[in-house]
């Protein structure tokens, strides 16, 4: 698999024009900070919840094209869904990164473009960063907290 397959047009688009990238979110319920110090990636993710649904989600931070694009695609795929549904979708994405076929390819929306990343083990962490952050944000919300900070390892 070549680099061109990794950096597909869809991914580059999200990297160049990220969706829902912002330093603030109106009605923010939870703010999490995730970092991947081994790569030098840092991500702030904010969510707003309404009626058990993910009403708003924005991310901000620094990282490689894969981590930024994946976070962007993630926000589109999860917005408006039930919280538990987002958790399930996150798990689907995670398994895809470990080489499984996704069970909900349509729901992943542009996230499906990242399937090829599974072939580049060092980049899997990058693609997962945003998804792990949203999962953590929801769990933080469910446990009644408003902020959380996570450092990812190998």
């Amino acid at each position: 698999m070549s680099l061109e397959d990794l950096y597909q047009e869809i991914i580059l688009d999200h990297y160049r024009k990220p969706k829902n990238r912002a330093p603030e979110l109106a009605d923010e319920d939870v703010h999490v900070h995730h970092s991947n110090p081994l790569c030098g990636d840092e991500m702030d993710l904010r969510i707003a919840v309404a009626d058990g649904k993910l009403d708003g989600v924005v991310f901000d931070g620094e990282g490689c094209s894969i981590s930024q694009a994946s976070a962007s695609a993630m926000t589109q795929a999860v917005k408006g869904r039930e919280l538990d549904d987002v958790l399930a979708l996150t798990e689907d994405f995670r398994l895809m990164m470990h080489g499984d076929e996704p069970s909900r390819p349509d729901d992943l929306q542009d996230g499906i473009a990242f399937q090829g990343v599974a072939k580049f083990p060092v980049r899997v962490k990058c693609a997962l960063l945003g998804w792990m952050a949203v999962k953590d944000a929801i769990e933080t919300y469910q446990s009644g907290d408003a902020t959380h900070s996570v450092t990812h390892g190998e």
Binding site: S35, P37, L38, P121, V122, R123, T151, H152, E154
Partner: protein, 411 residues
């Protein structure tokens, strides 16, 4: 499930050698084993095809090197039925045991605590405790031996009785006596007496020769070394229960084992990386993975059975010699293939030198087990030790050399 030794011997380049114009008879695998071609090939391939550093390299070579390294971790974990995240690479058994000495024993034991060990330990499983004791003042107790060189299990309850034994360090197989210890039972007894007691097993002489099942033994730590199990020099392993490892501070610190370093603090990496500092022995870990494959291919049960039969023959042959005494158990069900012996009136050094003339390599000396030497009442022994590439053809040169030494030196 029998072993075809002539075929196996072809896998080991050194065994084709002659010394002093005679066939090499290598009976020193308890000190260090031979290494098969398949292991050397894996290391050569690394050096010749994708020599590079592991982890987080974004280029092809580094990915291949990482696959070799982490793939070997999975192989070693599978070989010993241990959790992958509790499979930590060190340079040898000694470092593996020191890791536990520094990150567990020195952090947890103090006055009032007791560390229990035995009279048959290798220095690697005794000097770290004596050294820590100098600084911390805990008590060390020793399980004594029976006449025939087994642990005196009858003495154990009294040693555990006061509930103060908070660490048990015991070898799985003795490098001098060959004795196989029932470490599973010992670990259970120690925990019965004190639920907080942690158990370390020195498996340096076990993993090469027996099928070892870390989870089944129910111990906290298990140390072994690559160079005795058909692997290369320069690599060892500490297996640890992740729940226990999680609670321990790191030992060696530096690159690879941290997630973040600020001038006011450090975030340790996740298991097993927290305990692997700096650039690891990449080729050697790859080689150890290949050694696990090699041994699995032949079958650990077959190897054990083969060594049992060969050891029985060797014990018989030695029993037939005048003036020769074997140390350790004579029942091959409870012993491995390390056979220490004495020849009346002949110093082990002279036995070793004479055996060398017959092409026979044995080890002489205290075998890094001075306390055991004192128990045996000797300064040194000669030791022949067997592995999968030895067979009954290796016994006549051994017997011949011993007889020659006896006739030459005995006063």
């Amino acid at each position: 499930m029998t072993i075809d030794v002539p075929t196996i011997r072809k896998d080991f380049p050194t065994l084709a050698r002659e010394v002093h114009d005679t066939r090499l008879v290598y009976l020193d695998s308890a000190a260090s084993s031979q290494t098969p071609r398949a292991v050397l090939d894996v290391m050569d391939e690394y050096y010749e095809r994708y020599r590079s550093n592991v982890h987080r390299g974004v280029y092809r070579l580094a990915e291949e090197a990482t696959d070799l390294f982490e793939g070997a971790r999975h192989k070693v974990a599978a070989f010993t039925n241990a959790p992958v995240e509790g499979t930590i690479f060190t340079k040898n058994s000694t470092e593996a045991i020191n890791l536990v000495a520094y990150s567990y024993v020195r952090r947890r034991l103090g006055e009032g605590d007791v560390l229990l060990t035995t009279h048959m330990e290798h220095h690697a499983n005794i000097v770290p405790w004596l050294h820590a004791q100098q600084d911390l003042g805990f008590e060390i107790r020793y399980i004594p031996l029976t006449e025939d060189g087994r642990l005196d299990m009858d003495a154990v309850p009294a040693l555990l009785d006061d509930g103060r034994v908070s660490f048990l360090a015991v070898s799985h197989v003795s490098n001098v006596l060959g004795t196989i210890n029932d470490v599973k039972t010992l670990a259970a007894q120690a925990r019965d007496a004190n639920p907080g007691c942690r158990v370390l097993v020195d498996g340096s002489q076990a993993v090469p020769h027996l099928a070892v099942d870390f989870r089944d033994l129910g111990v906290d730590f298990y140390a072994f070394t690559g160079h005795k199990m058909c692997g290369p020099t320069g690599v060892g392993v500490l297996l640890g229960r992740p729940e226990v490892l999680e609670t321990m501070p790191p030992f060696l610190t530096g690159g690879e084992m941290i997630l973040d370093v600020r001038l006011d603090g450090v975030t340790w990496n996740e298991l097993p990386h927290k305990f692997e500092a700096g650039t690891m022995m990449i080729a050697e870990v790859g080689g150890l993975g290949a050694a696990c494959d090699y041994l699995t291919g032949i079958g650990m049960d077959a190897i054990r059975e083969h060594e049992k039969q060969l050891t029985a023959k060797a014990l018989d042959a030695l029993a037939g010699l005048d003036d020769v005494t074997v140390h350790g158990p004579t029942d091959v069900e409870v012993r491995g293939g390390a056979v220490s012996f004495a020849v009346d009136g002949v110093h082990p050094h002279d036995i070793g030198a004479m055996l060398d003339q017959e092409g026979v390599c044995v080890r002489v000396g205290h075998h890094c087990a001075k306390p055991l030497m004192r128990v045996l009442g000797v300064n040194a022994t000669a030791r022949a030790s067997f592995y999968l590439y030895n067979d009954a053809d290796d016994l006549p040169p051994l017997v011949r050399g011993i007889e020659r030494a006896r006739d030459f030196f005995a006063r």
